[in-house]
């Protein structure tokens, strides 16, 4: 089986079908990444599509030294930044309604688990998108802090600080929710 980097090099050589293999390999993870940031299925799918269009457009800028996934997520990061830049001040007032509609589609789960995750999702949506993103990115298999630094264009230590602060804030929001307020 070809590695991602080999596929990318073949893609650069003009074998465009290799993009299909990369798409099949990464669409699910990329979609998950975008979904956890946007909580919107349609938008996330569009964003996945956009990442692959950009891979095609900018394939020549892939040098093949670093890992493909690092390069791919830096494109994904830019797509996400663009997305939120456009919404900016308006977005995180109250996103809960959208969230509920997302959950409506899902089958019934264990209620307790449901409640906990419902809370987690609400807490996530109260974070600024940046923080949702860094948390989600940090959970992606195979991406280490050093690589996150490359994706986000900052130092490894800055990444660590940001992960920590985002998690801390998430925990604060989450804890407050745990206090029953009915």
């Amino acid at each position: 089986m070809n590695t991602d980097n080999e596929l990318m090099l073949q893609l650069k050589e003009g074998d465009l079908d290799k993009l299909g293999i990369l798409f099949e390999r990464h669409k699910k993870n990329l979609f998950g990444f975008f979904f956890k940031i946007t909580y919107d299925r349609d938008v996330s799918e569009d964003m996945v599509q956009e990442v692959f269009i950009k891979i095609l457009k900018y394939k020549d800028s892939f040098r093949g030294y670093g890992k493909f996934s690092t390069w791919m997520y830096s494109i994904a990061h830019n797509v996400s930044v663009d997305h939120f830049r456009k919404q900016n001040k308006y977005v995180f007032s109250e996103d809960s309604e959208r969230l509920i509609s997302v959950e409506d589609h899902d089958h019934e789960l264990n209620t307790i688990r449901d409640e906990r995750f419902d809370m987690l999702n609400r807490a996530m949506l109260k974070l600024v998108p940046d923080k949702r993103e860094i948390l989600t990115l940090s959970k992606i298999d195979g991406l280490k802090y050093k690589e996150l630094g490359r994706i986000l264009n900052c130092s490894e230590n800055t990444v660590k600080g940001r992960v920590f602060r985002a998690l801390k804030e998430l925990k604060n929001i989450y804890s407050k929710m745990e206090v029953p307020d009915k």
Partner: protein, 264 residues
Amino acid sequence: MKKEIIEKWMAEFLSPDISEGEKEELKGKLIQSGYDKFELEDMENLYSMLDEIDVPETSNKLDMNFYRSLELYKDAISDKSSHFGAFISSIFKKKYVLRFTYSLTLVVFGWYLGSWSGRIDNNNVKIQLMSQEISQMRQVMIYTMLDQPSAMKRIKAISYADEFENVDDKILNTFLDTLNNDPNPNVRLAAVEALSRFPDIQFVREGLVKSILKQESPLVQVALIDLMLKLKEKASKKELTRLLENRDLNYSVRSKTQETIRLL
């Protein structure tokens, strides 16, 4: 203890990339600097819950859009390198590259502009822009394909464009252009067929009527005359009458024209 160092330890503590031993060590350091053991556990639990957030399945639409775009892109550029494209490529290549670059620049520029105007709008703008970019990308491919020396590719381009949900004026104008200028009669026929779906658009109707006298192939003439009858386009009577003045007009086309004028 400096805040940064604690943050660093915490992040490392949470990372899956460290060994158990390192983890214990970090835990000890964190507890020493004032962290509660349970607090750490809570953090850890919450962080691991992030892995389990329900993510819906991706839809078929995603795959469809992706592969469609890829096919279009491939079609658009394949002729550059294949034996086919070498044909007349010396003439076409420059124009093709120029046009493609130009269109891409437009896309990027439009995107940039969009990103500015999007700030003052709500989040739907983003969605629109995104699908806009995708559809612009497709349109660029359509134009590129219509520039191909292969008639087959040009027909394919028209049938692709025909499937678009939002066909804009630019595409329709391109079809009219194809109808009047494409060297291959079958490509022109495909353009007539594609355009016949937009009888409510005034400039398309007018373009079709005007095109009657521009056609030399009886195949296309017949298709247009048929269409005039179907659309009950009385405005075409003048063109049809003038068509009859052409002495070289094909016999079948002549009788069809006369019949159509009568029925209109």
